[in-house]
């Protein structure tokens, strides 16, 4: 049913349609509206047979979900940013134990400095934790990915993180088709766990594994994620058949035919990029976009095929692996490795801590990639003047201490940063 609805609210409704049995809620911006929405649906009786638990921390939120999932219940929670870090230990644990928990991540920067706005640093911090990580481009996709996530998680016995850009999607009110209960019921079977805590058939879950088998455990975990590559594609196709729209999958191409320049990005920024591409195509520039939906597992082969013909690949990502560069760019680089006549790779970090990624900036960036390529990692819309002054000062006067504070001090004294 089409609705003009806030993204978080739509996600809450979609998650409720998946009939989760245990929901753990701990507030953190910008994830709050999702769990608030779910809380209301449970309290007002729309979502029955569901335990809604107000826990005392994100660590507890995922831990409660772990317990519920191990006991055979469909478990859900949501978090963001610091919350994800606070539950980090449990994030690894949930995947290690093979528990099909679905968690929404309202993507947000990580402090310090504390920042509540959107980027992908939080998701990147858990990229190696053994979860499937799916990035929603739109709120419609966010809704659809949650439905697919439960099915994927339970089929693979592997937790799934649905990454949704904080504020930009979570707080945007727009036209979204929220499916009907019979549709979802027909598509998503009830949870049938492969391992469950049951007094009738007792098992011990969570053994200590030593050097003699740990490598095998990890190999199997990795193998299972590679299996997921096929399943994610299949489910996206099934989903399209059942719901009549394309959502999910490993990656998505936009105007890639004959493109000289291919942009690779994840999440909501892809919408803006598409508008930019349309405008550039109108100007005759052969440019296209590849949207990565499944960041984990990473669709290396599929991406390689897609990028093979391009001259330039521009990776735009909302995260920075400090000291290395863009983590997505690194993964894309891996996909291009050993490719004969591989396209040039240009890495751009954009939108950190909620800085708007604007069309003019993207226009500039994409043009620059082919005509004036840069070395290393480009920080989109970086205030060169400020960082230049700061670098200069610290060179002169060796001063330990938080760069952020120094910057803020300078911003205050110099007025408008831009």
């Amino acid at each position: 049913m089409l609705k003009q609805i806030e993204g978080s609210k739509a996600m809450a409704e979609a998650i409720a349609l998946c009939r989760p049995e245990v929901i753990c809620a701990y507030p953190i911006t910008p994830q709050t509206h999702i769990v608030e929405g779910l809380g209301e649906l449970v309290k007002d009786g729309h979502l029955t047979d569901c335990e809604y638990i107000n826990v005392e921390s994100e660590f507890a939120a995922l831990s409660v979900a772990i317990g519920a999932s191990a006991a055979g219940a469909r478990a859900y929670t949501a978090t963001a940013s610091q919350g994800l870090l606070y539950m980090a230990e449990a994030v690894y644990n949930a995947s290690g134990l093979g528990l099909p928990i679905v968690m929404t991540l309202g993507n947000r920067a990580i402090g310090a400095p504390i920042n509540i706005w959107n980027d992908h640093s939080d998701a990147m911090s858990m990229r190696d934790a053994g979860w499937i990580q799916l990035f929603a481009e739109t709120n419609q996709e966010a809704v659809d990915l949650h439905i697919q996530a439960f099915k994927l998680a339970e089929e693979l016995s592997m937790p799934v993180m649905v990454c949704v850009d904080g504020f930009i999607l979570t707080h945007a009110m727009e036209r979204i088709d929220v499916p009907e209960q019979p549709q979802v019921d027909a598509w998503l079977p009830p949870y049938d766990p492969v391992q469950v805590l049951d007094p009738a058939e007792p098992i011990s879950i969570g053994a200590m594994v030593g050097p003699e088998a740990f490598t095998e455990v990890r190999f199997l975990q990795h193998y299972k994620q590679t299996q997921a590559l096929r399943l994610i594609t299949d489910y996206a196709r099934d989903f399209e058949k059942a719901f009549g729209r394309e959502s999910g999958g490993l990656l998505r191409a936009y105007r890639v035919d004959d493109a000289d320049v291919l942009v690779v990005a994840m999440g909501s920024v892809c919408g803006t990029i598409k508008d930019v591409i349309d405008e550039m195509r109108d100007e005759g520039i052969a440019i296209g976009l590849v949207t990565i939906v499944s960041y984990r597992p990473f669709p290396t082969d599929e991406l390689r095929k897609m990028l093979a013909g391009a001259q330039d690949v521009v990776v735009v990502e909302k995260s920075i692996a400090v000291g290395v560069g863009g983590p997505l760019a690194n993964n894309v680089d891996m996909a291009l490795r050993n490719l004969p006549d591989a396209p040039r790779l240009h890495s751009a970090v954009a939108g950190l801590g909620g800085r708007p990624i604007t069309k003019p900036s993207l226009h500039r960036l994409f043009r620059q990639a082919s005509v004036q390529p840069w070395e290393g990692t480009h920080f989109l819309d970086l205030n060169e003047r400020i960082v230049g002054r700061e670098i200069h000062t610290t060179r002169k006067k060796r001063r330990s201490g938080p760069t952020a504070e120094n910057l803020l001090r300078r911003l205050a004294t110099e007025g408008d940063a831009r």
């Binding site: 609705k3 706005w117 930009i168 707080h171 009110m173 036209r175 919408g271 909620g354 990624i357 069309k359």
Partner: protein, 180 residues
């Protein structure tokens, strides 16, 4: 303000159009300056950047003029709607208003209307009613429906009444401007 943007997006949705309403993201505290955006289009809205060059600017609290440059980016053929019972001259924005095409800058005492009809200083519905009259981007009927969806029952009716009066006030101004 967020509610106003959302109601506006609902009104557009009800007319079969695409609309995207979103707040200026932040940890708002009650009373702090807030900006909310609404895009309306006839096709899917993919753009996710904040609106830097609005076609329409609705100012709910003119006291903010001193703190924030709210007019930055307002297009030269844009619309301006200000919640006030004072004149643009009194607000020292008459110059800005004059730069816009005739009838594009309108003042409406939305808070006063809200106090009159709803009993509380909630100007959102009145502003939307006024906005429906301005530039006719959305129909008043859609605004009325959106208000009723957001506020069911008596409060909804009171808000519709405020919106309706605001609509009439602006329509009167528009007619006056057209007559000039």
């Amino acid at each position: 303000m967020v509610t106003a943007a959302e109601m506006l997006s609902v009104a557009a949705f009800l007319e079969g159009r695409h609309a995207q309403a979103f707040p200026s993201f932040g940890s708002e505290r009650t009373g702090a300056p807030v900006v909310a955006f609404c895009r309306i289009a006839d096709r899917e809205i993919r753009l996710r950047e904040p609106i830097l060059e609005p076609d329409c600017l609705i100012v709910q609290d003119p006291t903010l003029f001193k703190a924030v440059d709210v007019f930055a980016g307002l297009k030269s053929d844009g619309y301006l709607l200000v919640n006030t019972n004072r004149s643009f001259v009194d607000l020292h924005i008459d110059q800005i208003a004059r730069r816009l095409p005739a009838g594009h800058a309108v003042a409406v005492p939305a808070t006063e209307l809200a106090l009159k009809h709803v009993g509380r200083p909630v100007p959102n519905a009145a502003l939307l009613g006024a906005f429906a009259a301005l530039g006719e981007l959305v129909h008043f009927a859609s605004v009325q429906q959106a208000i009723e969806k957001t506020f069911p029952g008596k409060i909804g009716a009171a808000n519709v009444a405020a919106a309706s009066e605001a609509y009439e006030i602006v329509m009167a101004q528009e007619r006056a401007a057209a007559a000039v």
